[in-house]
Symmetry: C2
Subunit: 211 residues, 2 copies
Protein backbone atom coordinates (compact mmCIF):
# COMPACT_ATOMS: atom_id res chain seq x y z
CA UNK A 1 0.00 0.00 0.00
CA UNK A 2 1.63 3.20 -1.15
CA UNK A 3 -0.01 6.57 -0.70
CA UNK A 4 -3.55 6.16 0.63
CA UNK A 5 -4.71 2.55 0.22
CA UNK A 6 -4.66 2.56 -3.56
CA UNK A 7 -5.49 -0.15 -6.07
CA UNK A 8 -8.30 -1.88 -4.25
CA UNK A 9 -9.92 1.48 -3.61
CA UNK A 10 -9.41 2.55 -7.19
CA UNK A 11 -11.06 -0.60 -8.50
CA UNK A 12 -13.81 -0.26 -5.96
CA UNK A 13 -14.49 3.26 -7.13
CA UNK A 14 -14.47 2.21 -10.78
CA UNK A 15 -16.94 -0.55 -10.03
CA UNK A 16 -19.24 1.76 -8.13
CA UNK A 17 -19.13 4.35 -10.89
CA UNK A 18 -19.94 1.72 -13.49
CA UNK A 19 -22.71 0.31 -11.34
CA UNK A 20 -24.32 3.68 -10.70
CA UNK A 21 -24.24 4.54 -14.37
CA UNK A 22 -25.68 1.21 -15.47
CA UNK A 23 -28.32 1.00 -12.76
CA UNK A 24 -29.50 4.47 -13.61
CA UNK A 25 -29.82 3.62 -17.27
CA UNK A 26 -31.30 0.13 -17.20
CA UNK A 27 -32.91 -0.20 -13.81
CA UNK A 28 -32.18 -2.66 -11.05
CA UNK A 29 -33.15 -6.10 -12.29
CA UNK A 30 -32.16 -5.47 -15.90
CA UNK A 31 -28.62 -4.60 -14.94
CA UNK A 32 -26.27 -7.57 -15.03
CA UNK A 33 -23.03 -7.97 -13.16
CA UNK A 34 -21.39 -8.84 -16.45
CA UNK A 35 -22.32 -5.42 -17.76
CA UNK A 36 -21.04 -3.63 -14.69
CA UNK A 37 -17.81 -5.62 -14.74
CA UNK A 38 -17.20 -4.84 -18.40
CA UNK A 39 -17.76 -1.14 -17.80
CA UNK A 40 -15.30 -1.33 -14.93
CA UNK A 41 -12.76 -3.18 -17.03
CA UNK A 42 -12.85 -6.58 -15.40
CA UNK A 43 -14.62 -9.94 -15.28
CA UNK A 44 -17.88 -10.52 -13.45
CA UNK A 45 -16.33 -12.87 -10.95
CA UNK A 46 -13.77 -10.29 -9.91
CA UNK A 47 -16.48 -8.06 -8.52
CA UNK A 48 -16.83 -10.46 -5.63
CA UNK A 49 -13.42 -9.55 -4.36
CA UNK A 50 -14.82 -6.12 -3.59
CA UNK A 51 -18.50 -6.77 -2.90
CA UNK A 52 -20.28 -9.66 -1.33
CA UNK A 53 -23.25 -9.64 -3.67
CA UNK A 54 -25.19 -7.64 -6.18
CA UNK A 55 -27.39 -6.33 -3.42
CA UNK A 56 -24.45 -5.20 -1.37
CA UNK A 57 -23.20 -3.30 -4.39
CA UNK A 58 -26.49 -1.61 -5.01
CA UNK A 59 -26.87 -0.70 -1.37
CA UNK A 60 -23.66 1.26 -1.53
CA UNK A 61 -24.75 3.02 -4.72
CA UNK A 62 -28.01 4.04 -3.09
CA UNK A 63 -26.14 5.15 -0.01
CA UNK A 64 -23.72 7.37 -1.85
CA UNK A 65 -26.46 8.90 -3.96
CA UNK A 66 -28.54 9.88 -1.00
CA UNK A 67 -25.56 11.14 0.95
CA UNK A 68 -24.58 13.42 -1.90
CA UNK A 69 -27.89 15.28 -2.16
CA UNK A 70 -28.17 15.46 1.56
CA UNK A 71 -24.72 16.97 1.96
CA UNK A 72 -25.19 19.30 -0.97
CA UNK A 73 -28.40 20.76 0.42
CA UNK A 74 -26.99 20.93 3.93
CA UNK A 75 -23.91 22.78 2.73
CA UNK A 76 -26.04 25.13 0.69
CA UNK A 77 -27.65 26.23 3.92
CA UNK A 78 -24.41 26.60 5.80
CA UNK A 79 -22.81 28.65 3.05
CA UNK A 80 -25.63 31.17 3.27
CA UNK A 81 -25.21 34.39 5.26
CA UNK A 82 -26.93 34.14 8.60
CA UNK A 83 -29.35 36.93 7.82
CA UNK A 84 -30.57 35.46 4.53
CA UNK A 85 -34.24 35.56 3.71
CA UNK A 86 -36.21 32.36 3.95
CA UNK A 87 -36.92 32.54 0.27
CA UNK A 88 -33.20 32.52 -0.40
CA UNK A 89 -32.77 29.58 1.91
CA UNK A 90 -35.35 27.60 0.02
CA UNK A 91 -34.05 28.78 -3.31
CA UNK A 92 -30.50 27.58 -2.71
CA UNK A 93 -31.81 24.30 -1.36
CA UNK A 94 -33.76 23.78 -4.56
CA UNK A 95 -30.71 24.68 -6.62
CA UNK A 96 -28.48 22.34 -4.65
CA UNK A 97 -30.90 19.45 -4.95
CA UNK A 98 -31.38 19.93 -8.67
CA UNK A 99 -27.73 20.47 -9.43
CA UNK A 100 -26.63 17.36 -7.59
CA UNK A 101 -29.32 15.41 -9.36
CA UNK A 102 -28.61 16.51 -12.90
CA UNK A 103 -24.93 17.35 -13.00
CA UNK A 104 -22.66 14.37 -13.43
CA UNK A 105 -24.13 12.42 -10.59
CA UNK A 106 -25.21 8.98 -11.61
CA UNK A 107 -25.43 7.99 -7.98
CA UNK A 108 -28.13 10.45 -7.09
CA UNK A 109 -30.24 9.88 -10.15
CA UNK A 110 -29.75 6.14 -9.83
CA UNK A 111 -31.06 6.37 -6.31
CA UNK A 112 -34.21 8.09 -7.47
CA UNK A 113 -34.84 5.86 -10.43
CA UNK A 114 -34.20 2.44 -8.94
CA UNK A 115 -35.31 2.84 -5.36
CA UNK A 116 -38.77 1.59 -6.22
CA UNK A 117 -37.36 -1.56 -7.83
CA UNK A 118 -34.93 -2.95 -5.29
CA UNK A 119 -35.81 -5.90 -3.05
CA UNK A 120 -37.67 -5.02 0.09
CA UNK A 121 -34.71 -5.84 2.28
CA UNK A 122 -32.41 -3.39 0.55
CA UNK A 123 -35.07 -0.71 0.72
CA UNK A 124 -35.47 -1.10 4.46
CA UNK A 125 -31.78 -0.36 4.84
CA UNK A 126 -32.26 3.10 3.39
CA UNK A 127 -35.48 4.29 4.92
CA UNK A 128 -33.58 5.81 7.79
CA UNK A 129 -31.40 7.77 5.40
CA UNK A 130 -34.38 8.87 3.35
CA UNK A 131 -36.17 10.02 6.46
CA UNK A 132 -33.13 12.02 7.50
CA UNK A 133 -33.14 13.86 4.20
CA UNK A 134 -36.87 14.48 4.42
CA UNK A 135 -36.31 15.85 7.88
CA UNK A 136 -33.81 18.34 6.55
CA UNK A 137 -36.39 19.74 4.15
CA UNK A 138 -39.05 19.64 6.81
CA UNK A 139 -36.91 21.86 8.99
CA UNK A 140 -36.23 24.34 6.20
CA UNK A 141 -39.87 24.65 5.25
CA UNK A 142 -41.18 24.75 8.80
CA UNK A 143 -38.84 27.56 9.78
CA UNK A 144 -39.91 29.51 6.72
CA UNK A 145 -43.56 29.02 7.53
CA UNK A 146 -43.21 29.93 11.19
CA UNK A 147 -41.39 33.09 10.27
CA UNK A 148 -44.24 34.11 8.03
CA UNK A 149 -42.50 33.58 4.73
CA UNK A 150 -44.88 30.83 3.71
CA UNK A 151 -48.66 30.73 3.97
CA UNK A 152 -49.72 29.25 7.25
CA UNK A 153 -52.75 27.43 5.84
CA UNK A 154 -50.88 24.92 3.69
CA UNK A 155 -49.92 21.36 4.55
CA UNK A 156 -46.13 21.50 4.44
CA UNK A 157 -45.83 17.75 4.15
CA UNK A 158 -47.86 17.89 0.99
CA UNK A 159 -45.93 20.83 -0.35
CA UNK A 160 -42.70 18.99 0.27
CA UNK A 161 -43.92 15.91 -1.58
CA UNK A 162 -45.10 17.92 -4.56
CA UNK A 163 -41.86 19.88 -4.61
CA UNK A 164 -39.70 16.76 -4.44
CA UNK A 165 -41.79 15.19 -7.15
CA UNK A 166 -41.36 18.13 -9.48
CA UNK A 167 -37.62 18.17 -8.89
CA UNK A 168 -36.97 14.43 -8.93
CA UNK A 169 -39.02 13.83 -12.04
CA UNK A 170 -36.52 15.95 -13.92
CA UNK A 171 -34.23 12.93 -14.19
CA UNK A 172 -36.79 11.54 -16.62
CA UNK A 173 -36.77 14.45 -19.03
CA UNK A 174 -33.74 16.62 -18.45
CA UNK A 175 -31.33 16.87 -21.35
CA UNK A 176 -28.03 18.69 -20.79
CA UNK A 177 -28.02 21.04 -23.77
CA UNK A 178 -31.66 22.20 -23.62
CA UNK A 179 -32.71 24.08 -20.54
CA UNK A 180 -30.18 25.15 -17.95
CA UNK A 181 -30.44 23.79 -14.46
CA UNK A 182 -30.64 27.35 -13.20
CA UNK A 183 -33.68 28.05 -15.35
CA UNK A 184 -35.41 24.98 -14.03
CA UNK A 185 -34.69 26.05 -10.47
CA UNK A 186 -35.94 29.56 -11.21
CA UNK A 187 -39.22 28.29 -12.60
CA UNK A 188 -39.67 25.96 -9.66
CA UNK A 189 -39.12 28.75 -7.15
CA UNK A 190 -41.38 31.08 -9.05
CA UNK A 191 -44.16 28.52 -8.92
CA UNK A 192 -43.50 27.75 -5.31
CA UNK A 193 -43.47 31.34 -4.09
CA UNK A 194 -45.71 33.33 -6.41
CA UNK A 195 -47.34 30.89 -8.75
CA UNK A 196 -47.68 31.66 -12.41
CA UNK A 197 -51.32 32.71 -12.38
CA UNK A 198 -52.72 36.13 -13.19
CA UNK A 199 -56.07 37.35 -11.98
CA UNK A 200 -58.35 36.72 -14.89
CA UNK A 201 -60.66 39.37 -16.25
CA UNK A 202 -64.13 38.11 -15.37
CA UNK A 203 -65.30 36.30 -18.47
CA UNK A 204 -69.03 35.72 -18.07
CA UNK A 205 -70.91 34.73 -14.96
CA UNK A 206 -68.30 32.76 -13.13
CA UNK A 207 -65.58 34.21 -11.03
CA UNK A 208 -63.46 32.52 -8.48
CA UNK A 209 -60.70 32.89 -5.97
CA UNK A 210 -57.98 30.40 -5.29
CA UNK A 211 -58.85 27.64 -2.87
Amino acid sequence: MTSEQSKSDISRARILDAAAKTFRQKGYAATTLIEIAKAAGMQAGSLYYHFGSKDELIEEVLDIGMRRVHEAVEESQERLPADSSYRDRIRVAVEAHLTTLLKHDDYTSANIRIFGQVPEEVRQHHIRQRDAYAELWRRILTKAQKSGALRSDVDLGLVRMLLMGALNWSVEWYQPGRTSIQTIADHMCLMLFSGIGIEEPIRSGENETVA
Copy 2:
Protein backbone atom coordinates in the same frame (compact mmCIF):
# COMPACT_ATOMS: atom_id res chain seq x y z
CA MET B 1 -69.48 -17.52 -28.60
CA THR B 2 -72.52 -16.52 -26.62
CA SER B 3 -73.18 -12.91 -25.71
CA GLU B 4 -70.23 -10.78 -26.73
CA GLN B 5 -67.11 -12.94 -27.25
CA SER B 6 -66.87 -14.06 -23.66
CA LYS B 7 -64.40 -16.44 -22.02
CA SER B 8 -61.31 -15.53 -23.94
CA ASP B 9 -62.00 -11.88 -23.29
CA ILE B 10 -62.66 -12.52 -19.64
CA SER B 11 -59.37 -14.35 -19.24
CA ARG B 12 -57.60 -11.68 -21.20
CA ALA B 13 -58.95 -9.03 -18.87
CA ARG B 14 -57.99 -11.03 -15.80
CA ILE B 15 -54.47 -11.42 -17.11
CA LEU B 16 -54.12 -7.75 -17.89
CA ASP B 17 -55.41 -6.77 -14.47
CA ALA B 18 -52.99 -9.13 -12.79
CA ALA B 19 -50.14 -7.90 -14.96
CA ALA B 20 -50.82 -4.23 -14.29
CA LYS B 21 -51.00 -4.83 -10.58
CA THR B 22 -47.80 -6.87 -10.46
CA PHE B 23 -45.82 -4.65 -12.79
CA ARG B 24 -46.76 -1.63 -10.75
CA GLN B 25 -45.62 -3.28 -7.54
CA LYS B 26 -42.44 -5.03 -8.59
CA GLY B 27 -41.29 -3.28 -11.71
CA TYR B 28 -40.75 -4.67 -15.17
CA ALA B 29 -37.86 -7.11 -15.00
CA ALA B 30 -38.64 -8.33 -11.51
CA THR B 31 -42.14 -9.39 -12.50
CA THR B 32 -42.34 -12.99 -13.62
CA LEU B 33 -44.94 -14.54 -15.88
CA ILE B 34 -45.42 -17.21 -13.24
CA GLU B 35 -46.50 -14.51 -10.82
CA ILE B 36 -48.89 -12.91 -13.27
CA ALA B 37 -50.37 -16.27 -14.21
CA LYS B 38 -50.92 -17.23 -10.60
CA ALA B 39 -52.66 -13.94 -9.90
CA ALA B 40 -54.84 -14.56 -12.93
CA GLY B 41 -55.64 -18.11 -11.84
CA MET B 42 -53.79 -20.07 -14.47
CA GLN B 43 -50.44 -21.55 -15.52
CA ALA B 44 -47.63 -19.50 -17.03
CA GLY B 45 -47.81 -21.35 -20.32
CA SER B 46 -51.47 -20.52 -20.73
CA LEU B 47 -50.70 -16.84 -21.02
CA TYR B 48 -49.32 -17.51 -24.47
CA TYR B 49 -52.74 -18.37 -25.78
CA HIS B 50 -53.66 -14.73 -25.22
CA PHE B 51 -50.38 -12.90 -25.66
CA GLY B 52 -47.42 -13.56 -27.87
CA SER B 53 -44.78 -12.60 -25.35
CA LYS B 54 -44.08 -10.82 -22.12
CA ASP B 55 -43.33 -7.66 -24.04
CA GLU B 56 -46.60 -7.83 -25.92
CA LEU B 57 -48.38 -8.09 -22.61
CA ILE B 58 -46.61 -5.14 -21.12
CA GLU B 59 -47.20 -3.07 -24.20
CA GLU B 60 -50.92 -3.45 -23.74
CA VAL B 61 -50.70 -2.56 -20.08
CA LEU B 62 -48.80 0.60 -20.93
CA ASP B 63 -51.28 1.38 -23.67
CA ILE B 64 -54.33 1.07 -21.47
CA GLY B 65 -52.74 3.10 -18.70
CA MET B 66 -51.91 6.00 -20.95
CA ARG B 67 -55.26 5.89 -22.68
CA ARG B 68 -57.07 6.13 -19.37
CA VAL B 69 -55.39 9.32 -18.17
CA HIS B 70 -55.66 10.83 -21.60
CA GLU B 71 -59.36 10.14 -21.85
CA ALA B 72 -60.01 11.24 -18.29
CA VAL B 73 -58.36 14.60 -18.80
CA GLU B 74 -59.98 15.07 -22.19
CA GLU B 75 -63.41 14.34 -20.79
CA SER B 76 -62.79 16.68 -17.88
CA GLN B 77 -62.42 19.46 -20.42
CA GLU B 78 -65.49 18.51 -22.40
CA ARG B 79 -67.65 18.28 -19.32
CA LEU B 80 -66.80 21.85 -18.45
CA PRO B 81 -69.20 24.71 -19.33
CA ALA B 82 -67.97 26.58 -22.38
CA ASP B 83 -67.47 29.81 -20.49
CA SER B 84 -65.33 28.32 -17.74
CA SER B 85 -62.32 30.23 -16.55
CA TYR B 86 -58.92 28.99 -17.62
CA ARG B 87 -58.05 28.35 -14.04
CA ASP B 88 -61.00 26.03 -13.77
CA ARG B 89 -59.93 24.25 -16.93
CA ILE B 90 -56.50 23.61 -15.52
CA ARG B 91 -57.91 22.72 -12.14
CA VAL B 92 -60.19 19.99 -13.44
CA ALA B 93 -57.41 18.65 -15.63
CA VAL B 94 -55.18 18.34 -12.59
CA GLU B 95 -57.96 16.64 -10.68
CA ALA B 96 -58.66 14.23 -13.52
CA HIS B 97 -55.01 13.31 -13.91
CA LEU B 98 -54.52 12.76 -10.20
CA THR B 99 -57.72 10.85 -9.69
CA THR B 100 -57.04 8.45 -12.54
CA LEU B 101 -53.55 7.94 -11.21
CA LEU B 102 -54.39 7.23 -7.62
CA LYS B 103 -57.86 5.75 -7.63
CA HIS B 104 -57.99 2.05 -8.46
CA ASP B 105 -55.95 2.32 -11.59
CA ASP B 106 -53.01 -0.01 -11.61
CA TYR B 107 -52.64 0.53 -15.32
CA THR B 108 -51.94 4.23 -15.09
CA SER B 109 -49.57 4.00 -12.17
CA ALA B 110 -47.88 0.98 -13.73
CA ASN B 111 -47.31 3.05 -16.83
CA ILE B 112 -45.61 5.77 -14.85
CA ARG B 113 -43.50 3.49 -12.71
CA ILE B 114 -42.22 1.02 -15.29
CA PHE B 115 -41.92 3.13 -18.42
CA GLY B 116 -38.30 3.86 -17.64
CA GLN B 117 -37.49 0.15 -17.31
CA VAL B 118 -38.94 -1.47 -20.39
CA PRO B 119 -36.76 -2.46 -23.35
CA GLU B 120 -36.07 0.28 -25.83
CA GLU B 121 -38.24 -1.32 -28.48
CA VAL B 122 -41.35 -1.33 -26.30
CA ARG B 123 -40.71 2.26 -25.32
CA GLN B 124 -40.56 3.40 -28.92
CA HIS B 125 -44.03 1.99 -29.43
CA HIS B 126 -45.46 4.40 -26.90
CA ILE B 127 -43.66 7.61 -27.60
CA ARG B 128 -46.39 8.62 -30.01
CA GLN B 129 -49.03 8.07 -27.37
CA ARG B 130 -47.00 9.94 -24.76
CA ASP B 131 -46.53 12.83 -27.13
CA ALA B 132 -50.25 12.95 -27.78
CA TYR B 133 -50.95 13.29 -24.09
CA ALA B 134 -48.27 15.93 -23.70
CA GLU B 135 -49.87 17.77 -26.59
CA LEU B 136 -53.20 17.82 -24.78
CA TRP B 137 -51.63 19.56 -21.82
CA ARG B 138 -49.67 21.86 -24.07
CA ARG B 139 -52.92 23.03 -25.62
CA ILE B 140 -54.58 23.62 -22.29
CA LEU B 141 -51.68 25.61 -20.90
CA THR B 142 -51.05 27.57 -24.07
CA LYS B 143 -54.65 28.70 -24.34
CA ALA B 144 -54.56 29.80 -20.73
CA GLN B 145 -51.38 31.75 -21.28
CA LYS B 146 -52.56 33.41 -24.48
CA SER B 147 -55.76 34.50 -22.79
CA GLY B 148 -53.76 36.17 -20.06
CA ALA B 149 -54.56 33.71 -17.29
CA LEU B 150 -50.94 32.65 -16.96
CA ARG B 151 -47.82 34.80 -16.88
CA SER B 152 -46.44 35.33 -20.34
CA ASP B 153 -42.80 35.20 -19.28
CA VAL B 154 -42.68 31.55 -18.24
CA ASP B 155 -41.54 28.58 -20.27
CA LEU B 156 -44.69 26.51 -20.51
CA GLY B 157 -42.79 23.39 -21.46
CA LEU B 158 -40.88 23.64 -18.25
CA VAL B 159 -44.00 24.35 -16.24
CA ARG B 160 -45.66 21.31 -17.75
CA MET B 161 -42.73 19.08 -16.85
CA LEU B 162 -42.58 20.32 -13.29
CA LEU B 163 -46.33 19.96 -12.95
CA MET B 164 -46.36 16.42 -14.33
CA GLY B 165 -43.48 15.54 -12.06
CA ALA B 166 -45.24 16.78 -8.97
CA LEU B 167 -48.40 14.88 -9.91
CA ASN B 168 -46.79 11.67 -11.13
CA TRP B 169 -44.46 11.38 -8.20
CA SER B 170 -47.51 10.95 -5.99
CA VAL B 171 -47.64 7.28 -6.94
CA GLU B 172 -44.49 6.91 -4.84
CA TRP B 173 -45.90 8.32 -1.64
CA TYR B 174 -49.70 8.44 -1.80
CA GLN B 175 -51.50 6.32 0.77
CA PRO B 176 -55.29 6.02 0.49
CA GLY B 177 -56.33 6.83 4.04
CA ARG B 178 -54.03 9.82 4.64
CA THR B 179 -54.56 12.84 2.45
CA SER B 180 -57.51 13.06 0.10
CA ILE B 181 -56.88 13.30 -3.60
CA GLN B 182 -58.86 16.52 -3.64
CA THR B 183 -56.55 18.08 -1.07
CA ILE B 184 -53.53 17.15 -3.12
CA ALA B 185 -55.09 18.70 -6.20
CA ASP B 186 -55.98 21.85 -4.25
CA HIS B 187 -52.45 22.27 -3.02
CA MET B 188 -51.07 21.72 -6.48
CA CYS B 189 -53.35 24.33 -8.00
CA LEU B 190 -52.64 26.79 -5.24
CA MET B 191 -48.92 26.44 -5.88
CA LEU B 192 -49.40 26.64 -9.60
CA PHE B 193 -51.58 29.75 -9.61
CA SER B 194 -50.64 31.77 -6.56
CA GLY B 195 -47.68 30.09 -4.95
CA ILE B 196 -47.45 29.69 -1.24
CA GLY B 197 -45.07 32.56 -0.56
CA ILE B 198 -45.80 35.68 1.43
CA GLU B 199 -43.86 38.89 1.03
CA GLU B 200 -41.36 38.77 3.81
CA PRO B 201 -40.87 41.63 6.20
CA ILE B 202 -37.41 42.96 5.29
CA ARG B 203 -35.10 41.23 7.72
CA SER B 204 -31.79 43.04 7.47
CA GLY B 205 -30.01 44.37 4.40
CA GLU B 206 -31.22 41.94 1.83
CA ASN B 207 -34.52 42.12 0.04
CA GLU B 208 -35.50 40.47 -3.16
CA THR B 209 -38.18 40.02 -5.71
CA VAL B 210 -39.07 36.83 -7.50
CA ALA B 211 -36.95 35.98 -10.52
